[in-house]
């Protein structure tokens, strides 16, 4: 976030905490992509992701006074979205393990867009904690310790989850494409 953008967000945050609806709207516009994408890449369902993102922002509105800085706001949104996604999944589908990942049909001729979709589907089939760690790592480009803080798990658990998830993703992709990204 640039310095101008950060100070703009700081101002919007202060105004929104005082009940300024327009300022809150600008906070929503600034962060909706992040919150929605976390939910979308995790749930793999656009409508459910939008509902989830909406809930997160409504929860933010009720807790604005507890947010101190724009950085804290980002951390708070990522944390609430992550935990809500995991809770949502626990209530809706049986847990899977890293060894239960589905095989993907061979379609070597398909382009990059299909590879991306395939990767998203594979990520979407990871167990919840590994999946959220992968989404936070590659969507938000967070460090291990940041992921650990958001997910409230030890940093070593984050590392092992990511290593196992990546090894499995690499293996599955190799089998379906015949060509392994190193």
């Amino acid at each position: 976030m640039s310095e101008t953008s950060s100070s703009r967000m700081e101002q919007a945050l202060a105004q929104a905490s005082r009940g300024d609806a327009a300022a809150f709207e600008s906070l929503v516009r600034e962060h909706q992509g992040m919150v929605f994408s976390l939910a979308y890449h995790f749930l793999h369902d656009r409508a459910a992701a939008e509902d989830m993102a909406q809930e997160v922002f409504l929860h933010l509105f009720r807790n604005l006074r507890s947010i101190q800085t724009p950085e804290h706001l980002k951390f708070w949104l990522r944390k609430v979205a992550s935990h809500r996604c995991i809770d949502h999944l626990r209530g809706h589908q049986p847990q899977s393990s890293l060894d239960d990942l589905p095989e993907i049909a061979d379609s070597k001729a398909e382009g990059d867009l299909l590879l991306e979709e395939r990767l998203r589907r594979l990520v979407g089939s990871l167990p919840e904690r590994a999946r959220m760690a992968v989404v936070l790592r590659f969507q938000e480009e967070l460090e291990y310790h940041e992921i650990a803080e958001i997910m409230e798990i030890p940093i070593n658990t984050v590392k092992s989850n990511l290593q196992r998830a990546l090894a499995l993703l690499r293996g599955k992709l190799a089998r379906c494409m015949g060509d392994v990204p190193a």
Binding site: A21, E25, R29, F36, S37, Q54, F57, L115, F138, P181
Partner: protein, 122 residues
């Protein structure tokens, strides 16, 4: 960064929600109007005028004073009533005792007369 990492970054890049997402969030923030909010608003509007504020304060003071006096008078009436009741109860008690004494005297006199009549007839 290895190719898989790059592929994952591409696959998991941020996306925007539907165009009306922000409006839906903002619409969700509108609180339901409370049933008495119009009354509350009307009262708040009235109290904005200083003269009405003073008049309201004076009316409240008068109401409290009148209420206090009425309560005191009610308490006095209750106390007086209780005292009167106690007096009546005491008077009834005394009257009853005296009547009992008189009744016992009459009964004794009757018994004495009967004994004398019996002795005379024998």
């Amino acid at each position: 960064m290895n190719p898989l990492d790059q592929e994952l970054k591409n696959a998991l890049r941020r996306q925007e929600p539907s165009a009306d997402f922000t409006q839906r969030v903002m619409a969700g923030l509108q609180p339901e109007p409370a049933p008495d909010s119009r009354w509350g608003e009307a009262i708040r509007n009235l109290l904005r005028f200083p003269s009405l504020r003073w008049a309201t304060a004076a009316a409240l003071c008068a109401l409290l004073t009148i209420g206090g006096l009425a309560y005191r008078r009610h308490q006095q009436t209750v106390t007086q009533g209780e005292m009167a009741r106690a007096k009546v109860m005491l008077a009834l008690h005394i009257t009853s005792s005296k009547l009992n004494v008189a009744l016992r005297g009459v009964q004794r006199a009757d018994r004495r007369d009967q004994v004398q009549d019996t002795q005379r007839s024998e």
